[in-house]
Amino acid sequence: MKHIKFNYFKNLGFALLTLGLIMGCERDLSDEAVLATFSNTAEIFTDVPVGLTDDFFVSFDPVEGANTEGFGTDDNVAYEGTSSIRIDVPTPTDPNGGFIGGIFRDRGEGRDLTGFDALTFWAKGSTTATVGLFGFGTDFEENKYAVSIENIELSTDWRKITIPIPDASKLTQEKGMFIFSAGTESTSGAGYTFWMDEIKFENLGTIRLQNPFIFSGQDLEIDAFIGANQRLTDLGAVFNLTNGQNQSMSVAPSYFDFESTNSAVTGAFSINIAGQAFTSIVGTMGTAVITAQLADVLAVGSLTINAAGAFPHAPVPMRAAANVTSLFSDAYANVPVRHYNGFFAPFQTTQGGSGIDPNDVDIQAPFANGSLDNIINYTVLNFVSIGMYETVPNIDVSQRTHLHVDINVRENIDASDFIRIQLESGTGGGSISGGSSVLSSTLLRNVDANGWASLDIPLSNFSGFTDPSNLGQLFFISDGTISDIWVDNVYFYNP
């Protein structure tokens, strides 16, 4: 025993000596070499929130219809322990808001989740309703590593829900601990309650990545003009869970590595303000195939892009700037906008128009003289607005008599197809009023050689638009009859 002890101390002394030498000689290096690490706390809610912000629940924006009243804890119901989270899902007509949802955020600088492979929790419902979305990685900042499973049917008994982490090595500092969103789509508008308990990250070891996917796993092919920002959408992964069931999930682009076969056709891969991956078409000829990998596994699905050449521009506006109030045109100085697409969850499907910068939307197509023509490309259109409220003032078009807009419908137009333009006043504070005018299929088919319908609509056509000095939103509404359009030169004017 003594002998062993002696050896032990001798070695320890030597070790300390060595450590001292290293510290003495290379202090600067060792300080720099220390990587900051963050809390690896697993629990999010047990009987109380664990390490979350003081407000615990951060709701979606009530302006967009989110109900902030239906969130609470319930000391009478628990899967384990004494308390659970209780969500009262409102009816669509609830004056406090027609759906409920939001996030839980880490109260610190974020957590190190690299040691986990899933977020799990227990849930039960007052009825077998379907909850719209559960997930994590949404922090209402970058939402960089957002992940979600959608349309989850509740049981009236406790059931464990597993949300796999697509690639935990990315999550060294994650603030978005949990997200949910629930409405009454599955209950024909009837409200219901559900409870969640024991929300935590786990290292299950019992789930496997079956395959990542892009474009929902489809191999798509498109023609694209130079200057277009081509979005890479419908990203996700299928995991096989402990119980043998497959779980499909939506996965943010930051988990993926994208690759193009032809850098003469596509540019760098970036992420837009709506959190979508995109690449710019940089060439006028050739073909590029886009693929992606998640955690070094090739995703199912691809996009073949055939460069289609120069962009078919809309007619360049010739009206004097003094007679124009422009929302979106390269020919004029535009008024500041809150958005070219508000991405109003959960009812809006429309993609495109992300951002507030009219010089950086969907398509930046060079004119012959080299200057850039910016074009909005709305896809999956049901409705969308250009917004002038909240962060920017409402605009005054009371001195204008007409609205001009150029629309290029990128699909066949059926006789019953339409786009309704709606003008809304007083958005974001004032009293709301407005009116609309319908663009029929006939009007939309009346196009120039490049496919553009140039529309000049008297404001008197917008019956009910009586407060033109406080215009807050201009909507394009197709109700899905038309889904893919280019939009350019949206401005009010006097002839």
Binding site: T206, R208, Q210
Partner: protein
């Protein structure tokens, strides 16, 4: 090389029996007089180190849909072939691959190799290191069948299932014994569930220690089931017969569909391969 491991297992087995005895039949312990078998003598092994067709001095093929053309008695959906697409040795592994393809009236092909007539033995330690496929409809197995089934019709000839697994339960395997009075759905069987791991993402060792009086079932270093002559009698109200005293041969196969697993569904991934790192058999 594995004697330490083996001893540990035997000690666990003894401990397990001791606990069971204490709880159930204290004071009348048959174990006191039992000689515990130790199987240290490696008598057959295939490490699958030679690429190409499986070693034909050890393995042969069952081909087709079974002698009764009834999916091997289970309404299984695959046609077993001896093609290298379905059975081959590569990079140190035996690969048994199930494919979705039209073949001789079946919708799937796969492979079932056996040591019938080539290696048959009563008693001993049989083990294999295996990674299985996953998904609804997959039914891979590592098992033994009595070599006298031609004379003594199954289940009289006996069957020892060292490992069976259903692809829609990726964390669970089960070990079973079939004999007269306890066969098919009434076999003596037990599940083993992996904690924090699954059987299709890595290799696991599946084995039995088979002595005249008992069969021990283990996964990796965990003994999870012992079946004794007494168990057979207890489970069958004295009707069952212990039929594990004659030579058995080894079978490795990947079945698709059939009564037990049910058919593959749209999400089941094909092709998939069962990888076998080695098969080793020891005697006392």
């Amino acid at each position: 090389m594995n004697s330490m491991y083996n001893n540990t297992l035997i000690k666990m087995a003894v401990a397990f029996r001791a606990v069971v005895s204490f709880l159930t039949i204290a004071g009348c312990d048959p174990d006191e007089t039992q000689t515990v078998a130790e199987f240290n003598n490696l008598v057959m092994h295939d490490e699958f180190d030679t690429d190409g067709v499986p070693d034909n001095t050890l393995w042969t093929y069952d081909i087709g849909t079974g002698p009764g053309n009834d999916g091997w008695g289970n309404n299984e959906l695959q046609y077993y072939t001896d093609r290298t697409e379905n059975a081959t040795v590569e990079n140190g592994y035996l690969l048994l691959t199930a494919k979705e393809e039209s073949f001789n009236g079946s919708s799937y092909t796969s492979a079932r190799i056996t040591s019938q007539g080539l290696f048959e033995q009563a008693y001993g330690r049989f083990e294999a290191r295996i990674r299985v496929p996953y998904g609804k409809g997959y039914w891979p197995a590592f098992w033994l069948l009595g070599n006298d089934c031609a004379q003594n019709v199954w289940p009289q000839c006996g069957e020892i299932d060292i490992m069976e697994y259903l692809g829609d339960q990726p964390t669970t395997v089960f070990g079973s014994a079939h004999g007269p009075g306890y066969s098919a759905g009434d076999a003596i069987t037990k599940e083993y569930v992996l904690e924090n791991d699954r059987f299709d993402t890595g290799f696991h060792v599946f084995g039995i220690e088979w002595a005249p009086d008992y069969i021990n079932y283990y996964v990796d270093d965990v003994l999870y089931q012992q079946i004794t002559k007494e168990d057979v009698l207890e489970e069958t109200n004295g009707e069952g017969e212990w039929v594990f005293d004659h030579p058995f041969y080894i079978i490795l196969n990947v079945a698709i569909g059939g009564n037990l697993p049910g058919s593959p569904n749209a999400e089941t991934v094909f092709p998939q391969t069962m990888l076998v790192d080695y098969v080793r058999v020891y005697q006392q």
